[in-house]
Amino acid sequence: MAKKISNESVVFKKALWYHDRLLLAGVIIVSIALFLSVFGYMVAPYDPGTPVGPISQPPSREFWFGTDSSGLDVFSRVITAPRIDVVLSVSAAVLSGLLGTLIGLGTGFYEGRFSSLVMRISDVLQAFPIFILAMVLVALTGRNLINLIFALTFLYTPIFVRLTRTEVMTQKTRTYVEAARATGNSEWKIALKHVLPNSLTPSLIQLSVTVGFGILLTAGLSFIGAGVRPPTPEWGLMIATSAPRLILGEWWSSLLPGIAVSLTVFGFASLGNALERRVAS
C-alpha cells in the first residue's frame, strides 16, 4: 500500500514537471511569434515579396529554408508571415474576447427573456461548422485583412459569451455580491466592479487557445484561396502554392511553413493549457 502511494506521488511529480515544461515551451514559442509579427521584416535576410535567387533551391547556407517555385526565399517568408497570421488572430481573439465578455456579463447578470434570446442566437452560431461560416463571411464581405478580422471576431464571440455568462451566473450567487449590495452599490457597479473581475479567468485562458485556432483558421482560409492574396507572405498561402511541388521532391517550401503553423498553434494552446492548470491547482 505504502509503496503504491509513493508511486502515485512520483507520477504526480512527473505531471508537475511536464506541465512546467509545457508552460515554458508555450511562453517561448508565443514570445517568438509575437516578436516576429512586429520585427519579422527587419530580421528577415531577404525581401519576402521579391524573387531573390534561382527557383526551387533546396535549403543551403545561402537560403536556409531554400527557395520556392517563384524564387522567393522561404525562410524570410516563414518569419514574416506572423505579421498576417499572428496579428490577425490576436486581434480577432482580443476583439471577440472583449465583446463576448461584455455580452456574457450582461446576459449572465440579468437573466431573462432577452438574455435567453441572445444565448439561443449564440448557440445557433456555434452550431455551424466554423470553417464553412468563415468562408461564407469572407466571400460576402470581400477578401481583405479587416474583413477577415471581423469574420473571425464574429465567429469566436459566442465562445466568450458562453464562458463569461456561466462564470457570472456562479459568481453572482456568492455572498460578496450580496455584501456589495448591502454596502449600497448600484446594480451596474456590482456587475462591473465586483462580478466582472472575478469572472474573467476562464475567458483569459480561452484567449490564448483562440489565438491558436485563429492562426489555423487564417492559414486554412488562405489555403483554399479565401484568405489573403499572393504574394503576401502567409503560411497557409505558402503551403497552398507549394504543395503541388511536393511530388517533385520539393518538400521544403510547403513542409517548413506547415511546421511553423503547427508550432505556433501548439505554443498558444499549451500556454492556455498551462494557465488553466495553474488556476485550477
Binding site: 506521488s9 455572498t175 450580496e178 455584501a179 449600497g184
Partner: protein, 598 residues
C-alpha cells in the same frame, strides 16, 4: 492494563506538492484501547484529518505513509490492498466531515448501506436491505422503509450524516474514526448524533477516535484527549485531568479563551427609543409544483437603542430570511420595518441605498463575503467611498482606525482575503460593516463558520464593541451559549415563527416552550463534570425538522414534541404573554399548565 486495539508507531504522512514535500503528520506514536472515546483536537491544518485517514492505512493523493499502524495483530501500513479492504468498513469505519459529499449521489441510501454490509457478510441483497432498514431506524430516522429509497440529494445534512453513521456501524466495527462528524449540523441534531455514538461505544465496546475542534464535545463525550500541533502529538490526557490542568501551552490557550472572564452585559439606562421595529413580517417562496414554502410567518419584535436581540433557531427556521428582509436584500410579502422611527419598507431601493450606511451586515461565511480579488483595505474602504465625501487620506485614517478596533493588524491592509485566517476574514467583514458608524448591524451567524478559538475571540470583540460604541444589533445564531453572552433579548424561531421571545434572563432561567428547552439541552458545556449524557433532559425532541412546504395544521412542533396532546395538533398556536414575562407560542404555557411528564 487491557491490550490496545490500535497501536501507532513513528507514523508520518507526507504530501508531494508544487513546493516540494510537506509533512502533515510527523513521527506520531499513539495507542487506543477498546471501548474508549478519544478526542483529537488541534487547529485547522495541524494534521488531524491526515492522521485520522492514516489510521486506516490511507493517505489522500498525493500523500504517502511511513511508519507502523498495528490494528490488533495486523499491520496496516504496507498491507496488501485486498486484505486492507476486508478490514476497512468491517473492523474499522470512517465518518467524514461532509456527509452529503461522502455519499454516492447516483445510488439510493439503502443500496449504499446494504453494499457495505454485503461486502463483509454472506447476506443476500434482500437481507441486506432489511438490515439497512433496521440500522436506519436505530439511528433515529423516521419512516426508514421509505427513506432507504431516497437519494442523497433528497436528504437533509442531518439525515445524510445518520445514513453515514449507520453505514459505518453496519458491520459493528471495533474502531470508528469520526472526522468532525457534526460540523455543519444543527445543535439538536448534533446532540442526538453524539448521544447515539456514545451509547454504541458503551454498549458494544467500540473504540472511537473523534476529531473535533469543539471543547464542548470533548468535555461531554471523550474519555481521553489528544492534542495535535503542527503534525505532532504534543499531549495525551484523561479528559477530566485536561480540564483541571491542561499542562500544555495550546491546551491552556484554548481553555483560557473558552473560559475568558466574561463581563456582564451592560444595558442602556433610562428611556430609549426603538432603533428597529419589525412588524408582522411574512415571506413565502414558490417552489416546484405550485407549492408554497413558508419562510417567515408574522414575525414582530423591537430592538431598543444600544440593545441586542439574539434570533435563535436551526437551519430552515427563517432567521436568516428575517435578517435579509430587514436589510432589503429580500422584499417581504407583507409587514413593515422601522429604522429609528421611520418606515423603511416603503422606500424605493434607490432611496434605501442611501440609508445603507446606517444599517449594515456581517454574513456567515467570511471568505465568501469578501471580494476575493480585492485587498482588504479596498473592501473596508468601499462603504466610505459610496456614502461619504471623505478625501482618500481621511478614508485611509478611518479604515485604519476601524481595523484597529476590530483587532486587525494595520500591516495586513494589502493582503487578499485568501491570505487570512477565517477569524481575520470575519474581522475584516466586521470592520467593513462598522466603518460608516452604522446605527444598527445585522450579524447573520458571524461565528458559526469559525473554528472555536476564533469564535471565542470574535465574541469578546463584539462585546467590547458593544460597550464602547453602544452598538445595537440583531445576532442571528443557532448557538444559545453565544447568544447568552452577547444579547439582552432572545427570540427563538422554529419553522418560520417566533415560538418564544423575552429577555435573556427570563428565557435562560425559565424556558417555557418545549423547543427552547430542547435547544438549551443541546448546549455542550466545557465541563466534564456537567456532561449532557449524565443529566436529566428537559425535552427530548424526536426526528427531524418538518419541511416548510407542507406545514402541519396545529403546532409546528407537535410531531417532535414529547408533551404532545390532541389539542396541539388541532389548533394553530399563538404567541401569547405569560405571567407578564416572555411571550410563548404554546397553549400550555400561555394557560400556565404544566407541560406534562415525559
Amino acid at each position: 492494563m487491557t491490550k490496545s486495539i490500535l497501536e501507532v508507531k513513528n507514523l508520518s504522512v507526507t504530501y508531494a506538492t508544487l513546493n516540494g514535500p510537506v509533512v502533515a503528520v510527523k513521527d506520531v506514536n499513539l495507542e487506543l484501547f477498546p471501548g474508549e472515546i478519544v478526542g483529537l483536537i488541534g487547529e485547522s491544518g495541524s494534521g488531524k484529518s491526515s492522521l485520522a485517514l492514516a489510521l486506516l492505512g490511507l493517505a489522500r493523493f498525493p500523500g504517502s505513509l511511513e511508519g507502523q499502524v498495528h490494528f490488533g495483530d495486523k499491520e496496516l501500513v504496507g498491507m496488501a490492498e485486498d486484505d486492507a479492504r476486508l478490514l476497512r468498513g468491517k473492523e474499522i469505519s470512517l465518518i467524514t466531515q461532509k456527509p452529503r459529499q461522502s455519499l454516492n449521489p447516483y445510488l439510493n441510501v439503502g443500496t449504499q448501506i446494504s453494499r457495505v454490509y454485503r461486502a463483509h457478510t454472506e447476506a443476500s441483497q434482500d437481507e441486506a436491505l432489511k438490515h439497512a432498514v433496521v440500522l436506519l431506524e436505530d439511528v433515529g430516522i423516521n419512516d426508514a422503509e421509505r427513506r432507504i429509497d431516497a437519494y442523497p440529494h433528497e436528504l437533509s445534512g442531518g439525515m445524510a450524516q445518520r445514513a453515514l453513521i449507520s453505514m459505518a456501524l453496519s458491520s459493528q466495527p471495533k474502531l470508528l474514526i469520526a472526522d468532525e462528524p457534526t460540523s455543519g449540523l444543527d445543535v439538536t441534531i448534533q446532540a442526538q448524533f453524539l448521544d447515539r455514538m456514545w451509547r454504541a461505544a458503551r454498549d458494544r465496546d467500540m473504540t472511537v477516535l473523534l476529531v473535533t475542534q469543539d471543547l464542548g464535545i470533548i468535555a461531554n463525550y471523550c474519555d481521553r484527549i489528544i492534542i495535535m500541533e503542527d503534525g505532532k502529538i504534543t499531549s495525551v490526557r484523561v479528559t477530566k485531568d485536561f480540564f483541571a490542568n491542561p499542562e500544555n501551552a495550546y491546551g491552556e490557550r484554548i481553555l483560557k479563551i473558552a473560559r475568558a472572564n466574561r463581563s456582564t452585559l451592560q444595558a442602556p439606562t433610562g428611556e430609549v427609543n426603538d432603533i428597529i421595529k419589525v412588524k408582522d413580517l411574512r415571506k413565502t417562496f414558490k417552489v416546484d409544483d405550485g407549492k408554497v414554502l413558508q419562510a417567515v410567518d408574522s414575525v414582530s419584535f423591537n430592538i431598543k437603542k444600544g440593545r441586542s436581540l439574539g434570533l435563535v433557531g436551526e437551519s430552515g427556521s427563517g432567521k436568516t430570511t428575517v435578517g435579509r428582509m430587514i436589510l432589503r436584500l429580500l422584499e417581504p410579502d407583507s409587514g413593515t420595518v422601522e429604522l429609528d422611527g421611520d418606515n423603511i419598507s416603503d422606500l424605493s431601493l434607490k432611496e434605501f441605498n442611501a440609508l445603507r450606511s446606517k444599517i449594515q451586515v456581517v454574513f456567515q461565511d467570511p471568505f465568501d463575503s469578501l471580494n476575493p480579488r480585492w485587498p482588504i483595505f479596498k473592501s473596508i474602504e468601499e462603504p466610505l467611498k459610496l456614502h461619504t465625501s471623505m478625501s482618500s487620506g481621511e478614508r485611509r485614517e478611518r479604515v485604519l482606525e476601524v481595523m484597529n478596533s476590530a483587532g486587525l493588524d494595520a500591516g495586513s491592509v494589502n493582503q487578499k482575503p485568501s491570505g487570512l485566517s477565517a477569524g481575520e476574514q470575519q474581522r475584516v467583514c466586521l470592520a467593513r460593516a462598522l466603518v460608516t458608524r452604522p446605527e444598527f448591524v445585522v450579524l447573520d451567524e458571524p461565528t458559526s463558520a469559525l473554528p472555536p478559538a476564533a469564535r471565542a475571540e470574535l465574541i469578546l470583540l463584539l462585546k467590547d464593541l458593544q460597550t464602547q460604541l453602544g452598538l445595537s444589533f440583531i445576532f442571528i445564531s443557532h448557538d444559545l451559549s453565544t447568544v447568552r453572552e452577547l444579547c439582552h433579548d432572545v427570540a427563538v424561531m422554529y419553522l418560520s415563527q417566533i415560538v418564544e421571545i423575552g429577555t435573556t434572563e427570563e428565557i435562560f432561567a425559565d424556558p417555557k416552550h418545549p423547543y427552547t428547552k430542547a435547544l438549551l439541552d443541546s448546549v455542550l458545556f466545557h465541563d466534564p463534570n456537567a456532561r449532557r449524557v449524565d443529566k436529566a433532559r428537559l425535552t427530548d425532541l424526536e426526528g427531524e425538522i418538518p419541511s416548510p412546504v407542507d406545514l402541519p395544521k396545529g403546532c409546528y412542533l407537535a410531531g417532535r414534541c414529547p408533551f404532545v396532546e390532541v389539542r396541539c395538533t388541532a389548533e394553530a398556536q399563538v404567541l401569547a404573554v405569560t405571567n407578564g414575562k416572555q411571550s410563548v407560542r404554546c397553549w400550555k404555557a400561555s394557560e400556565n399548565q404544566p407541560l406534562g411528564n415525559s
